[in-house]
């Protein structure tokens, strides 16, 4: 195999391993999903949302619940590896450490995107507006991709601390702020029928975030996990 195809194959191996673990155990995605739904209903009570208010807030609520749920998945993804010293095995495998980063963040992206796919019809029902736009799916894909790539990187940091996974949200949320802003604004724009031209700058911001965080992953993932 050429080095390049070998690299992609390694990434695919890690993604398929994570999906297989999830498929057999079914411990991650269902928890994320129920958690996301709980947040939506809790917010409804905590903020005493009137029906008119709710429609405008749907985009924001969608993203907050997605990000909270995604954090659960991110923590689980790395702690599964650490628990039985599976991480040592991964690190021993003859491949570049950045392949582990790509594999992990892509599987995290996949799981969170699954949650989003279930959430969207539920949101459409609850907030009485059709949220199944192709453009919205694109925004969700880009936003979740940036968020999970940054999260995968930071989860590898936080798992090494004494508090372990407790630290991840504190590290992740302030750094993910530009992604949250851009995702919410772009989603709100799509739901209120703005043209693509008006959303351009938010989409550009999401792309820039993706580029930046994946680049940081390639550069630093090996450094973070070195012994």
């Amino acid at each position: 195999m050429k080095p390049w195809t070998r690299y992609l194959y390694m990434i695919w191996l890690i993604v398929s391993k994570d999906i297989q673990v999830e498929w057999r155990g079914k411990q991650g995605v269902p928890v994320m999903l129920v958690f996301a739904l709980l947040i939506v209903f809790l917010f409804n009570f905590a903020l005493q949302l009137s029906p008119e208010l709710q429609a405008g807030l749907a985009a924001g609520l969608l993203w907050v619940s997605l990000m909270f749920a995604s954090t659960l998945g991110l923590n689980r993804s790395i702690s599964l590896e650490v628990e039985n010293k599976a991480l040592d095995g991964l690190l021993l495998a003859p491949m570049d450490r950045s392949a582990i980063f790509f594999g992990k963040s892509l599987s995290n992206l996949f799981f969170t995107f699954m949650v989003a796919l279930v959430l969207l019809p539920v949101f459409s029902l609850l907030y009485d507006q059709n949220m199944l736009h192709l453009n919205l799916l694109l925004v969700i894909f880009l936003g979740v991709s940036a968020f999970t790539s940054l999260g995968t990187l930071l989860a590898a940091l936080s798992i090494q601390t004494r508090t372990r996974d407790v630290l991840l949200p504190v590290l992740l949320y302030p750094l993910a702020l530009p992604i949250l802003i851009a995702s919410v604004e772009a989603s709100r724009g799509i739901l209120s029928g703005q043209s693509k031209f008006e959303l351009q700058s938010w989409l550009f911001l999401l792309l820039a975030g993706n580029f930046l965080f994946y680049a940081a992953g390639i550069l630093f993932y090996g450094t973070i996990l070195e012994e």
């Binding site: 630290l167 702020l177 530009p178 911001l205």
Partner: protein, 225 residues
């Protein structure tokens, strides 16, 4: 016990004169702003503190990169020192902004993108301290701290760009003009005073970071013994 370098001592004395001098300059030698009056003079320290804070965070990331490259703990001491001083300066910028906002916007705090993102930036670096305190050896602290300091600075331009897309109540000092933001119209004498306070704060920042760096060095020597 290592002796304090001479240059640092001179810098200390220089700042003991310069900081009060800049204050006198701002109070007596700057023009009164037409609408806001005296309270506008907070501006000179407010901007200078924000500037010094930003400079610290960039310095911390550069020192972090240098650590990852050379693996010498000295770079990590510099990175940590810069972040500590940077957090203090950023908090000064936020609080001086609040003092300014109270009479002008009639509230201590507004949920404006500019204010909120600055505060969240401080939270990024508070998380940095929590991260370090959860790690055991100086080497791991240095390695992971450096990575986090670099990623922290990388997201700042993203945040900066994202708030430019919002309409904000906060005045913009470096205005592009094309977007029609409410830029500050500064008279030449105001610019001179701003330049003075920026210079003084940059020196003050260098001085404080240097002192903090020496403290880190002494702590490390102490641990070895």
């Amino acid at each position: 016990m290592t002796k304090q370098p001479k240059v640092l001592g001179i810098l200390d004395i220089l700042l003991l004169i310069l900081v009060p001098a800049s204050l006198v300059w701002i109070i007596f030698f700057t023009p009164m702003e037409a609408v806001m009056g005296n309270v506008q003079k907070v501006f000179y320290y407010h901007v200078a503190a924000a500037w010094a804070g930003m400079l610290c965070f960039i310095l911390a990331a550069l020192a972090g990169a240098a650590y990852l490259h050379a693996r010498r703990l000295q770079w990590d001491w510099l990175s940590l020192s810069a972040i500590e001083v940077g957090v203090v300066f950023s908090l000064c910028a936020i609080f001086s902004g609040m003092i300014w906002a109270r009479p002008i916007w009639n509230t201590w705090w507004v949920w404006d993108p500019r204010l909120t993102t600055t505060t969240i930036m401080v939270l990024i670096y508070l998380a940095y301290f929590i991260l370090r305190s959860g790690l055991t050896t100086p080497e791991v602290q240095a390695r992971l701290g450096s990575v986090y300091a670099i990623i922290g600075v990388l997201t700042v331009p993203l945040t900066f760009f994202s708030i430019r897309l919002f309409r904000t109540i906060h005045p913009v000092v470096i205005a592009t003009g094309s977007t029609g933001e409410s830029a500050f119209n500064m008279s030449p004498r105001m610019l001179v005073a701003l330049f003075i306070s920026l210079s003084v704060f940059t020196l003050l920042m260098a001085d404080l970071v240097w002192h903090r760096y020496r403290l880190a060095k002494l702590q490390s020597n102490n641990r070895k013994r």
